[in-house]
Amino acid sequence: MARDQRAWDEPDLESKSLLRFITCGSVDDGKSTLIGRLLYDSKSLLDDQLDTLAADSKAVGTQGAELDFALLVDGLQAEREQGITIDVAYRFFSTARRKFIVADTPGHEQYTRNMITGASTADVAVILIDARKGVLTQTRRHSRLVSLVGIRRVVLAVNKIDLVGYDQRVFDRIVEDYAAFAGALGFEEIAAIPVSGLRGDNVIAPSADTPWYGGPSLLEHLETVDAGRETADRPFRLPVQWVNRPNADFRGFSGLIASGRVNTGDTVRILPGEGEAVVTRIVTYDGDLKQADAGAAVTLVLDREIDISRGDLIAGAASPALISDRLSADLAWMDEAPLDPARSYWLKLGARTVSARVVAPVSVVDVETGAASAASTLALNAIATVEITLDRPLAFDPYPENRDTGGFILIDRLTNATAAAGMVRGALHKSSDVQWQELDVGVDARAAQKGQRPAVVWFTGLSGAGKSTIANLLERRLHHAGRHTYLLDGDNLRHGLNGDLGFSPADRIENVRRAAEAAKLMADAGLIVLVSLISPFRADRALARGLLPAGQFIEVHVDTPLEVAEQRDVKGLYRRARAGEIKDFTGIDSPYEPPETPEVRIDTTAMSPDAAAEALYLALERRGVLNPAFAAFDYTI
């Protein structure tokens, strides 16, 4: 156990940046061992801790006479006895360049809850893969959750590389497999590193056994990777935590700046109200500031008496947040007690707590495949896209824009348990004044009268993929066959119903939501509704699917490779997007997430539009949509 001095040979008291990362992997991938190895080899363990570890390793270890690093991280008695990790553990270590906080999360049953918890404060995710096993179901789950929580930088640690004989082909194949699957998850960086936690290869220093690998060791990478934390150029947000009134002469509003920057003299707006005021002082114990940035805990004094209480959001007047009593969100259920849509929950976002209800049905996402299905409840560890109604308007931002003003928790009012973690997608318009009207003539009666089953055929694909062409041909075909149809075309909707929307992510979500709601009403009228809409985001299409009874939503992926669509460029839009004249253009500077399990996939490079329309007509027939005999029952496909 003879070791040289600690990693920081020189006392370094100057600024070091801080990186928070999470490690995720399946049971037996060797996570705890890898973290233990990082702590040990970076000399962050002290003698008495090592002595304890040596004794523990002998008593309950699994490595024979060797140190069992897993025991360093598994701190609870039950964990050590059963050799598993139950709860998120936070470990601290430091090198000459950086300080690190590692969240180690269990790879077994409670994985979703613990992973989301650990990931919520992480800048980077280290995803472990056992080199002998390759990309597993668990890997896909973990990656999807990491992406959901908004982590954009991932390290793929291909562990136990020693057990595959340091074979480059094994490593390359795993990296390829992973890249193929992770392409749709929106990661900005995937750094793949061959390591052995047990033997220390490429953990701290490059390994002599992987001469084919020219990249940095895991620690070197973690020391230099961009933490990607927010900068001061974002909109100013300060959730008011505390109204500071020590005496009649002082009234300040305390909070942590969630994003952006504030200067004295700035005009701010107090949300969710309309009131505006000018910042006269930025008070701290260490003296007044002229300017304060994201991450600072400050107390603002304003130039006028204005009604502000805890939970209000102080925002830059030029860039206020969204305000609504309805929002759409991704929800991760964390409680043993399942979601009850009939019940009201506390929703805490920033410093405000309001009453909230989750609207059924919800759109449950299969964490393994990304496929969505409608459900009326959510069980522990389920992920879903939901609509939430609040008892009063709330100020918030979409989660991808701001974790602090877009992340929320739901609290069970009876048990006080933290029941769910939520990530805001966007605001939905107020519906609090509108009561649902029960109608006597139902959808079955309307459909039966038309001799058909209602359906929504949802065409998704890149701009210029051929969606509208095929949808138009299909509608003609159906019309000739005496069917009752309607075609909702994305471009046409933008001239009317969606005329007020642009192409920002929030507007795109709203665009899809409105189209989906309109389609739902028409299906309710008994129609066969064709929707032709780029609808680039999987989650939005899942939301649309969730609005309809199971089996009514038929997703058609009009699959045209980007090069082909761009080459066709019927409307000249790609050329303009490439020239920078059009921003947020799908496929160019805005992502398209292809459906993973569409009901129908049309490869337009292999099939003419006419043939595609005919194939779809036959598919509808097969599903019983055109057969009145099936009209009143069996909606499952």
Binding site: L76, R91, P246
Partner: protein
């Protein structure tokens, strides 16, 4: 500034103090955010003041969090009657200097029964004079949230504890049923009789604490600095003879030895370390090459009951 401003925390004026490094600024802001959040959401919080370096930092952060007001909660010290004498003097002076309410609680039943570390051993002493006493005090004043200076880097079970840690009516901690804690969102909701322990220093390390004390010039007891002190060596621990309650074995004579303490607790249970560090610079330099952790000198960590089981029973 306003009349309500507590006295300056150190001899150095705020304006001349060097700006904190980025990592400490971030930790400071996080702690202030936690202090404000729990104080705003709980009816009757209290700050557990144990007089050590972590408590000193916690108190300093509480002053900052509510400036120019005062922290709207009292300090509570659980006095086992076996603390170093200097700690008690320091405690009273600090409370007076800052103009804060200080509550001191002692388990008088334990005192009446003569419980002490020499007669009953560290496990019983800690259980009766610390754990039970703390529960008595929290119940007596009806505190529903207690701030403590514990850090996750101290001990393995601490590494698994939440920043806001839920306790049942019996003050028990259930490590397997902890509330998930996401982003900077803390669920502080409890039913009547239940309580929270809040740990604003969760993400600080021992080195962070020392650097912060140095940069912010936070007063700490001089026991942390090296000085010749009367020492006897028992089971490898250097115990300071702080008063005449300490029974000496035949042939056991206190030796003057240049030592200091890395943590402070009950004097018979707190081992000193040989050291020549008489300044904060020297302490930090010593820490950087030290090969043992700060809890190494804590006798109670080796008394057979783990920190995890103590915590389940209601120990901080």
């Amino acid at each position: 500034m306003s009349e309500d401003r507590p006295g300056p925390v150190s001899g150095i004026a705020a304006a001349t103090r060097p700006r904190l490094p980025e990592d400490l600024r971030r930790l400071e802001a996080e702690s202030i955010h936690i202090l404000r959040e729990v104080t705003a959401e709980r009816a009757n919080p209290v700050l557990l003041y144990s007089i050590g370096k972590d408590s000193a930092v916690l108190l300093h952060l509480a002053i900052k969090a509510f400036y120019p007001g005062k922290p709207p909660f009292p300090l509570l010290h659980v006095d086992t009657t076996w603390k170093f004498r200097e700690m008690i003097a320091f405690r009273d002076a600090e409370a007076k200097r800052l103009g804060l309410d200080l509550l001191v609680h002692t388990n008088h039943e334990g005192v009446a029964a003569g419980v002490g570390p020499f007669t009953h051993g560290s496990a019983v002493h800690t259980e009766v004079m610390k754990t039970q006493a703390l529960k008595q005090a929290l119940d007596k004043y009806g505190f529903d949230a207690a701030f403590g200076g514990a850090r996750r880097d101290e001990e393995k079970s601490r590494a698994k504890e939440r920043i806001i840690s839920f306790r049942t009516k019996d003050h028990r901690w259930d490590p397997k049923a902890q509330r998930p804690e996401l982003w900077r969102l803390y669920n502080t909701r409890i039913h009547k009789g239940e309580s929270l322990r809040a740990f604003p220093l969760s993400n600080w390390t021992e080195l962070d604490v020392w650097r912060y004390i140095q940069l912010e010039s936070i007063p700490i007891p001089s026991l942390y600095f090296a000085k010749p002190r009367p020492i006897v060596e028992r089971d490898g621990a250097l115990i300071m003879v702080d008063d005449d309650r300490m029974p000496l074995a035949a042939g056991e004579t206190p030796q003057e030895r240049l030592v200091r303490f890395r943590t402070l607790g009950c004097y018979p249970l707190t081992g000193a370390v040989d050291s020549e560090a008489t300044t904060l610079d020297a302490i930090i330099a010593e820490m950087l090459v030290s090969r043992s952790s700060e809890r190494q000198g804590r006798v109670i960590d080796r008394d057979g009951s783990t920190m995890e089981s103590k915590k389940q029973d209601g120990y901080f």
